[in-house]
Symmetry: D2
Subunit: 366 residues, 4 copies
Amino acid sequence: VLKTSRAAVLTGYKTPLEIREFPLPQTIEPGAALVRVKLAGICGTDVHLWHGQLPIPLPVILGHETVGVIEELGHGLIHDWSGQPLSAGDRINWSSSINCGECYYCRVRPEPTRCLKRKAYGISYDCSVAPHLLGGYADYIYLRPGTAIFKLPEALPTEAVVGAGCALVTSLHGIERIGVRPGDNVVVQGSGPVGLASLAVAKACGAAQVIVLGGPPHRLEIAKRFGADVCLDVEESSVEERRAEVLELTGGFGADVVLECVGIPLAVTEGIELCRDGGRYLVLGHYGNAGTIEFNPHVVTRKQLTLAGSWGFEPRHTKAALEFLSREREQFPFEQLIGEPFALDRAFEALQATASWSTAKSAIAP
Amino acid sequence: VLKTSRAAVLTGYKTPLEIREFPLPQTIEPGAALVRVKLAGICGTDVHLWHGQLPIPLPVILGHETVGVIEELGHGLIHDWSGQPLSAGDRINWSSSINCGECYYCRVRPEPTRCLKRKAYGISYDCSVAPHLLGGYADYIYLRPGTAIFKLPEALPTEAVVGAGCALVTSLHGIERIGVRPGDNVVVQGSGPVGLASLAVAKACGAAQVIVLGGPPHRLEIAKRFGADVCLDVEESSVEERRAEVLELTGGFGADVVLECVGIPLAVTEGIELCRDGGRYLVLGHYGNAGTIEFNPHVVTRKQLTLAGSWGFEPRHTKAALEFLSREREQFPFEQLIGEPFALDRAFEALQATASWSTAKSAIAP
Amino acid sequence: VLKTSRAAVLTGYKTPLEIREFPLPQTIEPGAALVRVKLAGICGTDVHLWHGQLPIPLPVILGHETVGVIEELGHGLIHDWSGQPLSAGDRINWSSSINCGECYYCRVRPEPTRCLKRKAYGISYDCSVAPHLLGGYADYIYLRPGTAIFKLPEALPTEAVVGAGCALVTSLHGIERIGVRPGDNVVVQGSGPVGLASLAVAKACGAAQVIVLGGPPHRLEIAKRFGADVCLDVEESSVEERRAEVLELTGGFGADVVLECVGIPLAVTEGIELCRDGGRYLVLGHYGNAGTIEFNPHVVTRKQLTLAGSWGFEPRHTKAALEFLSREREQFPFEQLIGEPFALDRAFEALQATASWSTAKSAIAP
Amino acid sequence: VLKTSRAAVLTGYKTPLEIREFPLPQTIEPGAALVRVKLAGICGTDVHLWHGQLPIPLPVILGHETVGVIEELGHGLIHDWSGQPLSAGDRINWSSSINCGECYYCRVRPEPTRCLKRKAYGISYDCSVAPHLLGGYADYIYLRPGTAIFKLPEALPTEAVVGAGCALVTSLHGIERIGVRPGDNVVVQGSGPVGLASLAVAKACGAAQVIVLGGPPHRLEIAKRFGADVCLDVEESSVEERRAEVLELTGGFGADVVLECVGIPLAVTEGIELCRDGGRYLVLGHYGNAGTIEFNPHVVTRKQLTLAGSWGFEPRHTKAALEFLSREREQFPFEQLIGEPFALDRAFEALQATASWSTAKSAIAP
């Protein structure tokens, strides 16, 4: 075992990541674990964080979509979240957030994704404070007590888990809230990781047709590979053309469900008009605050719409996602979303690759 | 029986109603009915129609909240919608809209309130065309085949039925969509007829507390009489003060459910901020198009909200409303919403009384 | 056009069907249709009817799973239930029951499958009374006004529609009531048409695994072809073995959902024990009264179960079934359920083939 | 502070309780609490335990419905389950069971009432093992770490909390599962504590009428006091008479919802027949295994019923129950269920009073 771990650190917004060295923790707390990183995904959120669009502490080790191998387990950590035995050498994935389990949103309502003390690996931890190693862009990551850890089945490739990343869990949670029923006509706005994952989940829920509005072409290719019935490139079509096409494909009425996976406010303006009367609209892509739109409440009343938002995910969604991947991998090869992984010292290039949309997403293999 | 019927006719927007005389139909079609009007409610929607805010044909006999007595029944109309026997002399109420029963929204989805051929008494019929008498501000009204008619129980006063008007059915439908569960903290925005009805329904659903934001004082008095736990006068308080008060009353988190019964777009801006994370918001008051607001979709994602709209109501809601009134009349005396009725030739004064908010609502007794 | 139609008539329980000749109706009522039968399915229910296990009038022309071609349309019947134009020569299918649309269960609740005046083609009509031809085992069938007719898409084979028969609509309705969610472990009890259809619907809803308990082997072959993850032959295994296997396949807890598609009371005893705590159990196969079981209500409390029954189906399920077939035909080739069709004069042989389980089901091509 | 605590101990089934003395714990573990008992309710379940009808360890200190005052708090226990500050001298109530929070039913499904390691005060703990004092019939009770404790509002009388006991939480959980909607016709089978609590919750959910089938007369008196619309004494009426009455009161169709709160298997036979088609049936009273009934699955299919069971309750139901009591106490004076409390040394008499139904329930004030 090394005594130190390298990590790619965001020290200031819009500046290159720095490779720094941190001491490995001397002792592993009861319930905690030290994990050697195998593959760390670069999420679109990391790009937003790099731009300073969300309030986080600096310096921070980014990386919240990670697969690793257990190096050492703290006292008492003998089972994973599902009850499977854990030991050093096991390949694992984990929920990127830890809930306190005691606050109003953890207990009373409950809406655990809105935990008042929620902290996320790769996002919420100042890496200048021990145990430092709380992000995925690193040789090692330290998992705090209470982390929901999942032992990976042997047949499930690391690349599929990182390729699905936090997109698939986000989609599973969102679609649980808005509902996709067998036979529904579904529009997915966006063909980034969340859009592709939502397409996959909608198909698996028995959607009659899934229409993807997105781009660029290489992502729409994956959408087709994933079974999209129709893909429209948003660069090659106008709002009016897309609306006409969706109406045409839905008997003139509009979609039963529209899943927003874009994060651009105007997508909501467009998307609400794509719902049929009595339709459902999921605002899933607005993790960041990207500003306002003009919005007419009369439309919600008159079209008798249901709109829902969905924030993050719970450990049970991580479990469901891993099962989904195991079960549906042939139909939805998420490993194809990531290209050749970058070495850790090229972490900033990896981030830029995701930022530039030159791949669906990128990854770091330390 | 008279051979003619007077009616108060809207001949042009923003001009006084005219009293005109129309011939009674010579024959009653099979399934239709001729009804003598006992009491016709003036709905806030009638004020909007008078201002020309919704596309309707002119001239029109207004009035879609009516209780009458059967004068003559068409062939085959022997039972009311619930299966009770009907005969001349029975006091009745009816659903103001008729669905076609055959279109996409009547059959396939179904979302019958969005029937593609829906027509409403007192709103959608040009009274220059026979059978003319298709609105409530008149001596007689003609009920077309397919109207959902309800015989009124003797113990239920005409004034309570007209006082509840289309507000109670609208609230029952809306709250069915958004849900109010026992123990919920509920905010009702608005203390007009829809707000008061929503307060009543929320209380009857077991809401822990209902906070009404409205005015003027005479309406808030009725809200208190109906059991509102807290009333805030919107003329006497700022948006910030109301928000602080709602947070104070809900442990700092916000309401479980907010019911918008105002129809002013800015109420939606305010109301969404009154929901706790994971809360539910009903856009119920925007029957008319009153313009847009600035709206940030990020709030829906981050607060993990559900929003729903609700349009009109179905016959089963009319049935439910009449049962609700029969059951809960002591607690919610809707008859108190209407003052002394106006004679038919003073219909325009009655409309102005509703427009000026000098009563909660007014009514015409021909 | 012929002036008469042959039909296979059940004149007495447990006696051979008789071929009789009936006059074609002289006039087609408004809204009605005369249809030339292309293919009539033999349902397991027909076998029960033949045994006298359900109260029906005699004589009766059996056959409630039929595809035909429009010979003549009554006045005003110009669109099918979904709004598509209809004309003579169109190939159609229809809902086997007609609801009154006016009773307590049609209107008030509504539970339209429990319509108080429901009548079904091939089951409820005495064929000695005009218009006689109200069952599918015949050259012609007469569709009464109010029948929910569906024009078939060209690409959908007649054999697939009849192969899916009333099983698929029954399953869609039942699974709508009990719910199958993505990732659920599902047990299907039975591999007759309803069991196979339930397997198909459960797979399409995203079930993680579907375990089929049934037989004989040729039906389990089809189950495998339809994607069953595990099939257990009930002739080759004991109740205890099946329970052990289901527990083994579900982490020791039992299935999330068990779908009873057998119709034998003891299947319910077995099936309830296959549910995990908090699981759901659908009693779908007990269309007929097959007697009682010993049942311990404590199990429902302690295991915190939900049980649901489902009766027949609504027109919207017929629409959904035809869409399901069009969409999923490759994965679920229902046409394989029926063997070579029988000529009309061999209708009794066809019935015996279904009774003896020598095919999954049989069909008549007049 | 005393150094010992008396407790009434069940040492053998069907033998008198013995008063024994136990040492108070020397130290309070972190997160635990020592509580002086103010009032301990005698639940019908205690009678079943006394009869040996459920598998429990002996000797045991009975009592799982308790209000007490904090004597000493373990380290770190500074807030109650809802986040309110806790200190010595506070009057509290607590959930009688502790979930492990880690098993399949706590985490994965989740169905926390089916926790694989669930233990309940007054039921599951052998009192010969330290810390001994884990039941309510005692001077002191020791609350283990993880207990969901609730500080009681000053205005809420101890007698109301114990009077509602575990009946109200059980009803809240059960009715959450089966649903009671505004306007529903509800039958409650049983007028013991669970029946009365279910009546109260059903009324608060907006039930149109609640019909109680129970006895003896002094309990039906309380039912009327709680707002039962109709009460039928099961000693004074036959199954047929009750069925006729329920049909009469529900337009000939049966109840929308029937809540079984009896625990006698034949009640289920009777109750299912009281549901309308499409109705819902809750098996709530069968906490114990009281044997089997003859049951016809065909009825579930034909009547298209939903049946649900419900086991115990979660901490959030305890919170909801305390809020319900605070809010609705005037309408549902649960304190009236218990008579004059018994001294601790008369605990066995108290148990016999509950067993003999001479009061609705009894209580012990040490």
